[in-house]
Amino acid sequence: MTAEHSAATYGEVVERDVVIVGGGPAGLSAAARLASAGLAVTILDEQPELGGQYYRRPAPAVARQWGDHRPEGGRLIAQVRAAGAECRTGHLVWGVEDDGRTLLASDDAEHPVRLRARYLVLATGAFERVFPFPGWQLPGVTTPGFAQHLAASDHTTVGDRVVLAGSGPFLLPVACSLIELGVSVAGIAEAGRPYRPSLRALGTLGHPARLRELASYAARLARARVPIWQETVVLRADGRDRVSSVTLAAAARPARPVRTVEVDALCVGYGFRPQTDLARMLGCQVRVDVASGDAVPVTGAAGRASRADVYVVGEAAGIGGVHAAKARGLAAAHDILTREGRSAVPVSEARRMMSARRRLARFTALTDSLYPGPAALLATLAPALPADTVVCRCEAVRAEEIRTTAAGSADGDLNATKAWTRAGMGPCQGRECGFAVAGLVRSVMPGRGVGDGESRVEIFPSRLPVRPVPLATLLELAGPESQKGDA
């Protein structure tokens, strides 16, 4: 071995017209359209099956016994395959090479895969927005997304008697899924006051399908006599080996208990945060959304990012629900086809799509306005969080340490607070605690809003790898010589 080891990455590169990361509704919609127009398309997803969150495939045994809860997802996946798109499931895309465009993935055996395309479509979805409270580490405390996931793919439940809490429209369908499985939903605690004067008011807004869908969930919950406690937040969860009760408080006075409910499972979530690591790694511009405090990629109408060869679609581009995700995926596909001179879309269809997207955007804005924005939630929750609550589970960092550091030497800087407390430095890289840490930092710096000041960006930076990768995978990239070296 010479002293001058060359580090150039090694291995074949998969060259395609389009590479799509994420096989949820957005990525699938784009893939189906692009592949059927004859482009060489590869779609990757880290999950063992395509479908993403909304079209998550039920386990085979579950499908046989209970059927497919979302057959249109199965049809869309079949359409993608039939159109000739190469589907790589079990592939995590974790980084970008030094050329700024070759994607690095690892396959289901964690061997590296290198991919390059003329167009990259990032459809990486969202992850759940969580906020800690005393007792959130107890077994039986999960997120609504996890409960939904268990219900849809395994037909199992998180518990027998469940309280759902947090904020946002997603709590309603999850409650309905649980009820369908025979779970007793003891109540829904919603931090805002969206259902005023009552749930039924939603239906009278006379809005398109989605709002009717929401109203129908509401109606089902009313029939099942599930109480909805509005302007209510979780104060703490108690239990010995597992959660046995949850104590709720009024959002206006989040430290004063108003009600304790016996449960064996508790699902708390505050909606979703766009998953933008890859977009940021590719150098796409992001802006900090003032309402949510989240990083959202700067995109044009068709999802084109600040880099012309990159599109960001679906929830990764901003939370908007499944219909918006599909519409965004399609719009990106059409834009690519137009740039390729292959557009077969008649003007009338393009217009229809455009106006559908506008309607969906209006709908999203409307539902968003019903619920408290994440920044407003933080202003309620962060100051009330008890000092000894663990905020970063990976590194066991408590609220007090974060507040003291943020108010002291870190001077209100999120990343300095992270560095000096280790909050956000563990395996999840702050996906779980990032929202809460940002809230705590902000809460000790009164008068300073989201995104104030150039250096005080309110998000953790995106760094390779997206998720921890085996060093053995990196060794394969270093070439056969380094493989030999340690044999």
Binding site: E4, N415, G453, P468, L474, L477
Partner: protein, 406 residues
């Protein structure tokens, strides 16, 4: 905005700025530290945090000349002593660990370099031991089969950089010093016998009159000096670090390589930190430098060859940070000739030297003899005129996007 006064204005809250602030404050001076961003987030927050006591011999990318180890080692010796007492001085733990380290060789040529290095170390009063490959593996069974020889030095160590700078700043604060973050220094002018320093803008603007300015702005050292009309030749570069997830295996020693860029250690939290001066993809002095995948892959391949157990770990994250080098690779410290009251300190391995340089600067400022002779390390040598083809102090990025180690 009214004008304030201070006994000393320190520009830059990296580890050097924090150390000198603490030393001056403890000695009764009213110090003001002005920092562009949050404190300790540049070189001092991205550093590997190694306390290098045996000769550092590897070359960074773009490094034109080797370090003069014979001159450097006595300084390392003096720095070493100060780390021994640091936690007591700062009244807090900064995770100082003096568990010793190996510098390994894989070739006969490198073995010879170990022997040379051993000679200089002995001369400087730094005890090291030379081991052949088997003896090295007996001492540290985690070492791989390619290791042909190693030197052992029980002074080598580590301190948690994320704790050292804040602890120094806290100590300064306890003794009446002040740190103002998010206050970029914009102007430095002569003001009678002293200096007038202007930082921040608009409502946040501050004007401070002071007899003493300490420029410890790391990679921006030249930029700050230029504000005072002083031209200093520095070469900022960005290098990168790699962290694995926590490992259940334990390795308490620092492991370095004599011929290639490698330093590996396990930090208190259990993660392994892998570095060795591999070049970042780009240097961004206005924001965050990007780390390079090629450097990652090269550094990891080398690390696994020397320490095969690492192969079973996962990479958790990587990052890049900037540091300031001098053209002769030696530290720079002292008062600027012709600019009384304007002091600078910087250069490579400033983390290791932070306790020593803080004390040295205090002595120089107080007109007392410093703990080590630094008369040949002053900024005068960086002030000569440079030729036209040279880009001079304009902090040019010497790294091409795809540059390799050299």
């Amino acid at each position: 905005m009214s004008t304030r006064t201070a006994d000393a204005v320190i520009v830059g809250a990296g580890v050097l700025g924090a150390s000198v602030a603490s030393h001056l404050a403890r000695s009764g001076h009213r110090v003001l530290v002005l920092e562009r961003g949050a404190p300790g987030r540049e070189g001092s927050g991205t550093t590997a945090g190694n306390l290098h006591m045996q000769a550092v011999h590897t070359k960074r990318p773009g490094q034109a000349v080797p370090l003069d180890s014979a001159r450097f080692l006595p300084l390392q010796r003096a720095a070493s002593d100060r780390w021994e007492t640091l936690e007591e001085e700062l009244e807090t733990s900064v995770e100082v660990r003096r568990t010793g380290g190996f510098t390994i060789a894989e070739t006969e040529e490198q073995y010879q370099e170990l022997r040379d290095k051993h000679g200089w170390e002995a001369a400087a009063g730094i005890h090291t031991e030379i081991l052949d490959g088997d003896a090295a593996r007996a001492a540290l069974p985690l070492l791989g089969p390619t290791v042909a020889a190693a030197t052992w030095c029980d002074l080598d160590g580590y301190a948690n950089p994320l704790k050292v700078t804040p602890a120094y700043l806290d100590s300064a604060t306890r003794h009446g010093g002040r740190t103002v973050a998010f206050a970029p220094v914009r102007r430095i002018t002569r003001n009678g016998d002293g200096w007038r320093v202007v930082a921040g803008r608009g409502a946040a603007e501050r004007v401070v009159d002071t007899p003493v300015v300490v420029d410890v702005a790391g990679p921006w050292l030249g930029e700050i000096a230029a504000m005072a009309g002083i031209t200093l030749r520095m070469t900022p570069v960005a290098i990168q670090m790699h962290a694995t997830v926590r490992s259940s295996a334990t390795m308490s020693h620092l492991v370095q390589h004599i011929g290639e860029g490698l330093s590996v250690k396990q930090v208190t939290a259990g993660n392994l930190l892998i570095g060795g001066g591999w070049p970042a993809l780009s240097m961004d002095l206005a924001g965050r430098s990007d780390a390079s995948l090629d450097s990652l892959v090269g550094n990891v391949a080398l690390a696994v060859r020397v320490l095969p157990f690492i192969r079973d770990l996962r990479l958790l994250r990587m990052w890049a940070g900037p540091l300031a080098a001098t053209p002769d690779e030696m530290p720079v410290i002292g008062e600027v000739p012709g600019a009384p009251g304007f002091y600078v300190a910087g250069g490579t391995y400033a983390f290791t030297f932070a306790p020593l340089w803080g004390e040295t600067l205090r002595c120089l400022i107080e007109g007392k003899p410093p703990p080590v002779d630094v008369s040949d390390l002053g900024p005068g040598r960086l002030m000569e005129q440079w030729s036209q083809e040279d880009n001079g102090p304009e902090q040019e990025n010497h790294q091409d996007r795809r540059s390799k180690r050299c």
